[in-house]
Symmetry: D2
Subunit: 109 residues, 4 copies
Amino acid sequence: MHTSSGMQVCIDHCLRCYRICLDMASSHCLELGREHTKPAHIRLMLACSEVCRSAAHLMLLGTPHHRDLCAKCAEICEDCARDCERVGNMEECVKACRACAESCRKMAA
Amino acid sequence: MHTSSGMQVCIDHCLRCYRICLDMASSHCLELGREHTKPAHIRLMLACSEVCRSAAHLMLLGTPHHRDLCAKCAEICEDCARDCERVGNMEECVKACRACAESCRKMAA
Amino acid sequence: MHTSSGMQVCIDHCLRCYRICLDMASSHCLELGREHTKPAHIRLMLACSEVCRSAAHLMLLGTPHHRDLCAKCAEICEDCARDCERVGNMEECVKACRACAESCRKMAA
Amino acid sequence: MHTSSGMQVCIDHCLRCYRICLDMASSHCLELGREHTKPAHIRLMLACSEVCRSAAHLMLLGTPHHRDLCAKCAEICEDCARDCERVGNMEECVKACRACAESCRKMAA
């Protein structure tokens, strides 16, 4: 494969964050109600999930355009982590978002 | 729907550019060979397609994060349009990419 | 493009159903609460949206495997249309799902 | 999360097959030329990648509709594995497709 080991690590983080955000939004959040089910929170979880999925896709394609998308992905992951902390009881998602953000910042540098 | 008519127009452009880039990469380019089948060209077509798909997705979700992704989408669409002009015989793709880039710049403003 | 005019019509229906299901789930349903926000309904809307998106993708790629995915897409669209009728106040989504299901059945035949 | 450990294993296989097919199509195959770059082979790799991505997505959403998509995913993975064996020098992809097919068949059962 054309992807470096550093990039493979970032793809790991993006796909992990994609799957945790989507899984938790669809199960945990939709079922708990209250702050977890507020439209802005669910939308942010789904948007974070989509951008992580797409950043991984660009890295896998091997185009230099992945850098900018990784920079963008880091920002939405940080926003999602903050919102999950505010909502509470979302530790796994906070952790995945922060790890993905850090990895994406390195990739974008 | 929560999306404005301006946003619906941008979603139209993104989904149109997504489908033309993917269709032309998979049929036209893979079959013509030479410059059309060079890895960098096919990868750029597929990456442009993916970013357009994802920008439309964020607009449909209705999160404010769509702005940054639209800005990014405009850039990759311009790069794809330029590369398609260089390769030649890609007029439909050039046109769709330019229209999408213009629409995404407005959305990002 | 390698895609026939019949296939282009089916891609139109799939992308239209994708966007209406995602937009309505994220805006209309998450905001209305009650039956609209029940986990099973939101999940079905998001799953229908994803399968439509993916069926369009396979048609655009031009592989013969699109037939089976179109058959599957027709089933989930019918299920989604029925659930939207049950929930009520979802006419636009019901219409898009039914039109997509009919178009996908033709494509799968 | 609502997903069982058996389902998490299948999501692992689908995301692994997605990423190996996309990475190898975009790097290895587009660069090697000859049989590797024939349109039907590249299209099948990209289609297999997309269906794996989408099957994982439905499992993550937690809808019962994932079963049918997993059944379909198993078929396209077997077709992709066979085509990769025919083309040759694609061992990693053959292995990922076979493992994903087996896991998807269990999930669909």
